[in-house]
Amino acid sequence: MDTQTYPLNALTQRPMAMYHSWDSQNAWLRQIHTHNYLFVNPRTAEANGFGDGDWIWIESPINKVRCMARFSEAVEPGTVWTWNAIGKAAGSWGLSPKANESQKGFLLNHVISEELPPCEAGEHMSNSDPVTGQAAWFDVRVRIYPAEAGEPEVTSPQFKPQKRVPGQDPKRGKWQAFVAGAFRKKAKIQE
């Protein structure tokens, strides 16, 4: 691992109000946290040339994620962290594809490798604890830099919105079929 290129440790935590993604699509809980930030010490941010609330890239050897930075004096300058329970794929968890969770929230999972770099022990070693099988999270090395001026102000990567599952859309009676277009619009049924 080139610690000169990737000088920072990246950690994840849960916010106190919810655990994992379980039920965080709840109408009240998502008003408490609709999206997450990458918490960065102001000194680290200054050295990397971005400000509080700016769009930045966080990059590990395998992938990169675009997200928003939030200054925090409660984080050690060599570490960045975020809540890893808020970000969701567009349209997932029954939320609208425009929900903040998918547009401003992000998951750090994209920068974490499933496998260790090839070493003497083997080509495909799982990036997990050998005894318990618990996925390794806390040894991710990253670098951060500001997003370009013209980049869209949404998190990256973005995926095609998930299809709505049966039962999620309002039911439409058969008799409405002959004016289907009008009723689809009224019932806010999306294509």
């Binding site: 106190m16 109000a17 699509q25 109408a27 009240w28 809980l29 998502r30 008003q31 408490i32 609709t34 010490n41 000194r43 925090s72 004096e73 409660a74 984080v75 050690e76 300058p77 029954g94 939320l95 609208s96 425009k98 929900a99 903040n100 547009q103």
Partner: protein, 241 residues
């Protein structure tokens, strides 16, 4: 006169929002409900909450502290939101000092939210009336409930017992004792509103361990007259405090 109030201990609040959700759960279906939501599953959801927790940081790394600050109506003894109300919808109860809004009289002019220096008022965009913390008036005055449950929902929900409820005019009540003995303070007393809710300050807690405390008195190695542990080799097991 009785003045019911909350005392919130900032030293133990961990910011879990259990008070926020339990408040909404009780009040949305109770006397003061509904607490409506806008765009609940879409972009930028918002809604009415009687109780909110704000989190902020103080200090510079490494001497940083994170504060979780639960905020709701302070049920002021001289509430500025009451005299500004043009319809008399906003009132303070004579018997227990709780500040309430009569939704039937409220015309949604928002004068009270301009007058409140604490931002405690919550305007319902759907019903177009002003709402606020009622101190769970439909719980605390419900004589059909056992006395242990005649408390606001947030107090019953708090897992760290950071919220205490009682009469601040009774010098022997739990809240009065806490304010007196733990330095409880009101918010922005310079406004002359005499807030009833008080906050207990953060305290610095440091563990003080002396050398002799690092060796356990009942260390089994001692009892069996075995050689004592090496000087630098104390384990967590040997620590007693």
């Amino acid at each position: 006169m009785t003045q019911l109030a909350l005392v919130i201990d900032l030293n133990v609040c961990v910011g879990c929002h259990a008070c926020v959700t339990s408040c909404k759960e009780w009040n949305t279906s109770g006397w003061a409900g509904p607490l409506t939501d806008q765009r609940p599953y879409d972009a930028d959801p918002t809604g009415v909450f009687f109780n909110r927790v704000q989190t902020y940081e103080a200090g510079v790394f490494p001497n940083t502290e994170t504060y979780h600050f639960p905020k709701s109506c302070l049920h002021c003894e001289d509430p500025p939101c009451v005299p500004v109300c043009p319809t008399g919808a906003s009132y303070k109860r004579e018997d227990n000092g709780v500040v309430l809004v009569d939704y039937d009289k409220c015309i949604g002019c928002k004068y009270c939210s301009w007058a409140c220096p604490y931002g405690a008022r919550e305007f319902d965009e759907q019903q177009k009336v002003m709402k606020k913390c009622t101190l769970c008036i439909d719980r605390i005055t419900d004589m059909s409930l056992p006395e242990s449950e005649r408390k606001p929902a947030c107090v019953l929900a708090c897992p760290t017992r950071a919220r205490i409820y009682g009469d601040i005019h009774d010098p022997d009540s739990e809240v009065s004792v806490a304010i007196r003995e733990q330095g409880g303070y009101p918010l922005q007393p310079e406004w002359g509103t005499k807030p009833s809710n008080h906050y207990l300050p953060r305290r610095k807690t440091r563990i003080q361990i002396h050398e002799d405390e690092l060796v356990r008195v009942d260390n089994p190695l001692k009892k069996e007259a075995l050689p004592t542990l090496p000087e630098a080799g104390e384990t967590l097991d040997d620590v007693a405090w």
